[in-house]
């Protein structure tokens, strides 16, 4: 396959070279070209080590990424980012009413978790749910229709931003912390039905101080529920910083008897590896639950675009927010042709 592509590629180079001379564009020559055969199918990246709580070891510190996966994660995160930026615009135009809790800047969490679990697993989150609504299978059209109160919305316009549902996705919950016992209940159902599925239950740093969380942790540990609790820490609960709200900001330890990990939430590979580790932990029935912490910073300014188009035309190293590649420019170029990332 590779050699065949190489032959075709070389042939094309020669052909274009010839026609450029005889055609209207005098002097233009293809200096170099890339073909699919030149790209690396897979690469391994170093990722940040996770702090552990009540665990012998954490997830691996190296992550493998194939072309397809990379493209998929990128596409997912880019789509969520653009959807959220658009929602922001619509909200400012008052076309979206009420609440609109945006997920831009945190996309790596949603993309990483979805990459680590199966579609048959379950997920429930709080009200900052647009990203997960998408990763769990609802179309952009249905999400934006729901946000704008249209009949074509996933909840026919009756739910709004905070109440969108899909198979194995339980919203979208407006009351801070209420989704955590619900998630443990979904995990109980998985255990009851013996289907080897797990439930990922997300909450924010603000909800981490809710009493019902600790009630839930107790029962989840007692009954060994297959539940991954995930705290998405974006350093603020509404306007209150974590230092002013929590006596302990080591949220990954707050589960006490529940093992925990502190994860870099800005790195999709770090999130994926940690979530995979946690999922295996749950499913293996060892302790049957884990607590995951994600560090995610909210995007400071709306104009902070995920990437400038120009950045990819050259061979400059690019740090894609939420999608961290190793700082090797040639690796980026080896990985993707620029045309694939511009769309």
């Amino acid at each position: 396959m590779k050699t065949m592509l190489a032959i075709i590629s070389n042939a094309l180079c020669r052909i274009t070279g010839r026609s450029a001379v005889s055609g209207s564009t005098l002097g233009a020559r293809v200096v170099a070209s890339r073909s699919l055969s030149d790209f690396t199918p897979q690469a391994t990246f170093d990722i940040k080590k996770c702090d552990v709580h009540r665990l012998e070891a954490g997830p691996p510190v190296r992550a493998e990424l194939t072309r397809e996966q990379g493209l998929q994660y990128y596409r997912t995160m880019q789509t969520v980012r653009r959807m959220e930026l658009k929602a922001d615009q619509l909200y400012k135009q008052k076309i979206i009413r009420g609440f609109c809790h945006l997920y831009d800047g945190q996309e790596a969490c949603a993309a990483g978790i979805e990459a680590a679990i199966n579609p048959s697993d379950h997920l429930i989150t709080a009200y900052r749910a647009h990203g997960y609504t998408f990763t769990r299978g609802v179309s952009i059209r249905e999400i934006l229709a729901e946000l704008t109160g249209r009949r074509g919305g996933v909840a026919k316009g009756k739910g709004g931003s905070m109440h969108m549902y899909a198979p194995h996705f339980y919203g979208g919950n407006g009351i801070v912390g209420a989704q955590v016992p619900l998630g443990a209940g979904i995990a109980l159902a998985c255990q009851y039905q013996g289907n080897n599925q797990i439930c990922v239950t997300l909450y924010g740093d603000g909800a981490a101080n809710q009493g019902q969380l600790f009630e839930t942790f107790n029962m989840a540990a007692l009954w060994k529920l297959p539940c991954i609790f995930v705290c998405e820490n974006n350093k603020y609960g509404m306007g209150t910083s974590v230092e002013r709200a929590s006596a302990s900001t080591d949220y990954y330890k707050r589960g006490d008897f529940i093992p925990g990990l502190r994860v870099d939430g800005m790195d999709v590979l770090c999130v994926r590896e940690a979530a995979k580790f946690a999922a295996d932990h749950c499913r293996a029935g060892k302790v049957s639950e884990a607590l995951l912490l994600l560090l995610a910073m909210r995007a400071p300014a709306r104009g902070d675009a995920i990437l400038g188009r120009h950045a990819f035309l050259g061979i400059t190293p690019v740090r894609v927010k939420g999608l961290t590649f190793a700082n090797v420019s040639s690796l980026i170029c080896d990985f993707y042709g620029s045309s694939e990332l511009l769309h």
Partner: protein, 357 residues
């Protein structure tokens, strides 16, 4: 004789039960409310694998009030789950399990403790089917004793019928006798909506006759339909739960004085069977509501409003009278407690006042 027997029975003494067994022929079944609830749960657990019970003391202790006696022995840890004292947590867990396809029965030791979990009942259970435009049903039953008990004072004696019946998305059911308890609990468990099932602790030990057809494993009473317990022509008495018995007692006393009372057992608070009440009022022209809860924004207040809004208003010869619990936190001393709840004499007094006799 029947009335005085019933009064005697209602004191709940076991000895009476055994005496009655000898007096009545064997094909007339006397079953306590507790046993009726127990049998209903047992049959539903057997019928549907997805049904399970969770709550404090429901398993190894056989139930705080022994309503779930024997179930843990029969079904084990998977189906009958003891929880820690974490109402908000375990109510939320029950709702989550319902969302994921199971059919939980969530027991609150009393409904006073449901206040700790009321966010899960209302915001997570009641509203979800609507908010999701039908995508996410929540087939759960919240059950437990409601209202006043005996000497348990203010924090353990509140009636939550009006609180829960206020909310769209919930069904609220309040059985009186054993047949109500059995049929309504089975119907509640089979219903795909969240149902709040308000029992009464003082009724658990009271035996009632049960018909033959009520022994069928598929016997259910439709939620949303009231029952006329006693036909009458002079005045309509509407009540729910324990006070239906008080109404029947009052009716017996009033019958001797020539006043013929029609007694309606609501059975379901939400959705309320207004047609039944209207039909009765259009016949008797007088209405008295009786409940254990407080008067403001209560069940009686709702009945008054609905009667006013419907065709029955024009048939009223006198304003509706509400007989309710006194508008105070429940006191402890026996004499104070007794006088804080509707008694038979209060119902008789209200009827006579309404009829102007």
């Amino acid at each position: 004789m029947a009335a005085s027997l019933r009064c005697f029975l209602r004191s709940g003494k076991v000895g009476t039960f055994l005496v009655i067994l000898k007096l009545f022929p064997s094909d007339c079944r006397l079953v306590t409310v507790r046993d009726a609830l127990n049998q209903a749960m047992d049959e539903e657990l057997e019928r549907d694998e997805r049904v399970f019970l969770l709550g404090e003391e429901v398993a190894q202790y056989d139930g705080a009030y022994k309503v779930s006696r024997g179930l843990w022995k029969k079904y084990g840890d998977k189906r009958i789950i003891d929880t820690p004292i974490s109402e908000m947590g375990f109510a939320g867990i029950a709702v989550g399990a319902a969302m994921a396809g199971l059919r939980p029965i969530c027991e609150f030791m009393t409904f006073n403790f449901s206040m700790q979990a009321i966010d899960q009942v209302i915001n997570s259970a009641a509203k979800t089917y609507y908010m999701s435009a039908g995508l996410q049903p929540v087939p759960i039953v919240f059950r437990g004793p409601n209202g006043a008990s005996a000497g348990v004072a203010a924090q353990h004696s509140q009636c939550f019928a009006a609180w829960y019946a206020h909310c769209p998305g919930l069904k609220v059911v309040s059985p009186w006798n054993s047949e109500d308890a059995r049929g309504l609990l089975k119907a509640a468990i089979r219903d795909d909506n969240p149902v709040v099932f308000l029992e009464n602790e003082l009724l658990y030990g009271v035996p009632f006759e049960m018909s033959d057809e009520s022994q069928s494993k598929d016997f259910t009473i439709p939620i949303g339909k009231a029952k006329v317990e006693r036909q009458g022509s002079h005045v309509t008495l509407v009540s729910h739960s324990r006070f239906v018995g008080h109404c029947l007692d009052a009716a017996a006393v009033l019958a001797k004085e020539g006043v013929d009372c029609e007694v309606i057992n609501l059975r379901t608070i939400r959705p309320m069977d207004v047609e039944c009440i209207e039909g009765s009022v259009m016949k008797t022209n007088h209405l008295v509501t009786v409940e254990g809860g407080w008067p403001q924004f209560g069940v009686g207040a709702e009945i008054c409003a609905r009667i006013m809004e419907g065709p029955a208003f024009n048939f009223l010869d006198a304003p509706v009278t509400r007989v309710t619990g006194v508008d105070i936190p429940m006191p402890y001393a026996k004499i104070l407690e007794e006088n804080s709840l509707p008694q038979v004499k209060d119902i008789i007094f209200s009827v006579k006042k309404t009829l102007n006799v």
